[in-house]
C-alpha cells in the first residue's frame, strides 16, 4: 500500500509499509533503529508528513535491498 499523496504535504509517495510487511512484518522501531532515526520520524516519513534526507532515503532502500525508485516516488505537491 502506498502512502496517499493527497494527504501528504511533501508530494512524495512511498512503499515503506508494504516493504516492511513483506520483510517478515518488520516493525517501525526495527527499521528506525537500522537507519538511525526515531520511530516517530519513521512514522512521519511513512505517512508522507516528512521528506527524509537523501542519506536516510538510501538507508531505507538499503534496509529492504531495493533501489530508491522502488521505495520512493515523486508525485508532485
Amino acid at each position: 500500500m502506498k502512502s496517499d499523496p493527497a494527504s501528504s504535504p511533501t508530494g512524495i509517495r512511498n512503499n515503506i509499509r508494504t516493504l516492511r510487511f513483506m520483510a517478515s512484518e518488520m516493525t517501525q522501531q526495527d527499521l528506525a533503529d537500522r537507519i538511525g532515526v526515531s520511530r516517530q520520524t519513521l512514522n512521519a516519513i511513512e505517512g508522507g508528513k516528512y521528506s527524509p534526507s537523501l542519506e536516510v532515503a538510501f538507508k531505507i532502500a538499503l534496509a529492504f535491498n531495493k533501489p530508491l525508485s522502488e521505495v520512493f516516488e515523486y508525485v508532485g505537491s
Partner: protein, 139 residues
C-alpha cells in the same frame, strides 16, 4: 501516534515558559503600573523567575524521560527546530527595533529592558508553538 522525547521537550519548554515568565510578566506589569521605574527592584524578581523556570523545566524533562524511550535528536527534529527558529526570529527582531525606538524617544531603561524581555518571551513562545505544530502537521 506517540510523541518522541524531543516533542515532549518542546511541550515542557512551552508550558514552563508560559507559567513562569507569564507569572513574571504579571508581577513586573503590576510593579510598572505601581510606578516602580528603577531597574534594580526587578532584578531579584527576575532571578527568582529564572531559578523557578530551570527547576520546572528540569522536573518536566525528567518526567518526559521517564515516560518513554529517550532518543537523540535526529534530522527531522533538527529541521523542525531550524524552521521554527527561522519563522519566529522576526518577533525578536521587532523587539530590538522597538527597543531602539524607545532609546531614541529616551524612555527609561526599565521600559527598554521589559520591551526586550517581552519580545524575547513572545519569540520563544512563537518558536515553540511552531515546533509543536510542525511535529503534528509535518514539515
Amino acid at each position: 501516534m506517540s510523541s518522541s522525547f524531543e516533542e515532549k521537550s518542546v511541550w515542557v519548554q512551552l508550558v514552563s515558559l508560559l507559567i513562569v515568565l507569564g507569572g513574571y510578566s504579571i508581577g513586573s506589569g503590576t510593579m510598572l503600573a505601581n510606578g516602580v521605574m528603577l531597574l534594580v527592584p526587578y532584578i531579584p524578581v527576575f532571578a527568582v523567575a529564572v531559578v523557578v523556570l530551570l527547576l520546572v523545566m528540569a522536573f518536566g524533562y525528567i518526567a518526559a524521560a521517564l515516560s518513554g524511550k529517550r532518543e537523540k535528536p535526529d534530522e527531522r527534529d533538527r529541521q523542525i527546530s531550524w524552521r521554527a527558529e527561522s519563522n519566529s526570529s522576526w518577533v525578536l527582531a521587532s523587539g530590538v527595533f522597538f527597543a531602539l525606538c524607545a532609546l531614541i524617544l529616551q524612555l527609561q531603561p526599565v521600559w527598554m529592558a521589559h520591551l526586550l524581555l517581552l519580545f524575547w518571551f513572545a519569540s520563544e513562545l512563537v518558536k515553540l508553538i511552531l515546533q509543536a505544530v510542525y511535529y503534528r502537521r509535518g514539515v
